[in-house]
């Protein structure tokens, strides 16, 4: 690994393990993304499920208290944004936060450890952080997009939603129908794209900085410059990882809140 040139090192860490499932470039599966996200989703949601299954109104244990605290946090966040029933929006927010957080958390595993293990297991490439894959973030953000459309229809009816598409925000003059529609489409599409790109961009950039700092580590040697490079690599990686703890939480929270806000906005009448 240390013998690689810098661009190979970076490129290698940015490559997914893929399997072709059909003709054409689209029919490819990023196996690492899928497996990692499944495992993380199962661990995260499974843990909460285990607690939820045995949850009683008796005095809760430590784990149950923690899960309930988290539950109250999500519930409160949704309640602040959306006044209606939280029977769907609540679990949606919970799922988003847990899944995104678990996927982001993988960013804190040193990239070279991942590479070493995956090479040891014979995989040519392995990206450990599913949220640095646009497929994951867009899958989630466009799912939210469809929920926005669904709840717009549900809350306003087909006629109401169409009426809103053509008459808001400028007015109901027929001359303004097209500008209204165009603006609404842009606004609707901007939501999932920004949502998915934000998470992807933050995690991808964070990962890239870990790679660059790791690259700095590869030129460490017993010379003066080499020692400085090695030391800087260790210290800066540590500092960036500490800062990253904040980012992964924050990004999970932002994704959750924005999703809830978008779906809640779909319920509002203009």
């Amino acid at each position: 690994m240390a013998a690689q040139n810098p661009s190979d090192y970076i490129a290698h860490h940015l490559t997914n393990l893929t399997v072709k499932v059909g003709e054409g470039g689209f029919w490819t599966l990023n196996i690492d993304t899928i497996i990692m996200s499944w495992v993380l989703g199962l661990v995260g949601m499974g843990l909460i499920w285990m607690v939820a299954k045995g949850a009683t109104a008796e005095v809760p244990g430590r784990l149950q208290s923690f899960i309930e605290m988290f539950f109250e946090f999500v519930d409160g966040t949704v309640r602040d944004v959306f006044p209606g029933s939280r029977a769907f929006l609540g679990p949606l927010a919970l799922t988003i936060f847990v899944w995104v957080f678990m996927m982001n958390l993988m960013d804190l595993i040193p990239i070279d450890w991942v590479a070493t293990v995956s090479h040891g297991l014979g995989a040519p490439a392995w990206k450990a952080v599913p949220s640095t894959d646009l497929n994951t973030t867009f899958a989630m953000s466009f799912s939210v997009f469809f929920l926005i459309i669904f709840f717009s229809f549900k809350a306003k009816g087909a006629g109401g939603f169409m009426h809103e598409l053509f008459t808001a925000p400028f007015g109901s003059n027929p001359l303004l129908w097209l500008p209204n529609l165009a603006l609404n489409i842009i606004e609707l599409l901007a939501k999932p794209i920004s949502l998915g790109m934000r998470l992807f961009g933050n995690m991808y950039a964070g990962e890239l900085i870990f790679m660059l700092l790791g690259l700095l580590g590869t030129i460490a040697s017993l010379s003066v410059g080499g020692l400085i490079a090695g030391g800087a690599s260790v210290v800066l990686t540590w500092a960036w990882a500490v800062f990253h703890i904040l980012i992964i939480l924050l990004q999970a929270f932002i994704f959750m809140v924005l999703s809830v806000v978008y779906v809640a906005m779909a319920h509002e009448h203009h």
């Binding site: 499932v21 993304t33 899928i34 799912s143």
Partner: protein, 156 residues
């Protein structure tokens, strides 16, 4: 970095996780927390009620105590008054009795004196007659001098 079929798989995974969360995670947690909240609220309400009833009981106890104290002091005053009255009555009865006894004694004394006076008069009359007999050396006809003797008795 390119969009491919992974997107579809991830969307399905996401949908599955949401469904799982809606179905199996949210309801039991929500139920447990709601129920505990209700229990805590009930407990707090019960505690509040207990506190209120304690205050009420204390108030009642206080009132009962005050009443008892008032009644006791009333009884005490009443009995003092009664005792005084009894003493007064006894005093006046004793005084009456004493007066009666004194009056009786006086009456008796007066009658004794009168009796003694009468007796004395008789004796004086007899003595006078006897004295006169001695002086005259002869018998005085009591009958003849009855009038004079009667006058003498009345003068004594």
């Amino acid at each position: 970095m390119n969009i491919n079929a992974t997107l579809l798989v991830q969307a399905l995974s996401f949908a599955f996780l949401i469904w799982f969360s809606v179905k199996f995670i949210w309801p039991p947690l929500n139920r447990a927390i709601d129920e505990r909240n209700k229990r805590i609220a009930d407990g707090l309400a019960a505690a509040e009620k207990g506190k209120a009833s304690l205050v009420e009981a204390e108030r009642k106890g206080e009132t009962a105590m005050k009443e008892a104290r008032e009644r006791a002091s009333g009884v005490l005053g009443e009995s003092e008054k009664r005792a005084m009255q009894i003493v007064e009555e006894a005093k006046s009865a004793a005084k009456e009795e004493a007066d009666r006894i004194i009056a009786g004694a006086r009456e008796q004394i007066a009658s004794e004196v009168a009796k003694a006076k009468t007796e004395l008069r008789e004796q004086v009359a007899a003595l006078a007659v006897a004295g006169a007999e001695k002086i005259l050396q002869r018998e005085v006809d009591a009958k003849a001098h009855t009038e004079m003797l009667g006058k003498l008795k009345a003068q004594l």
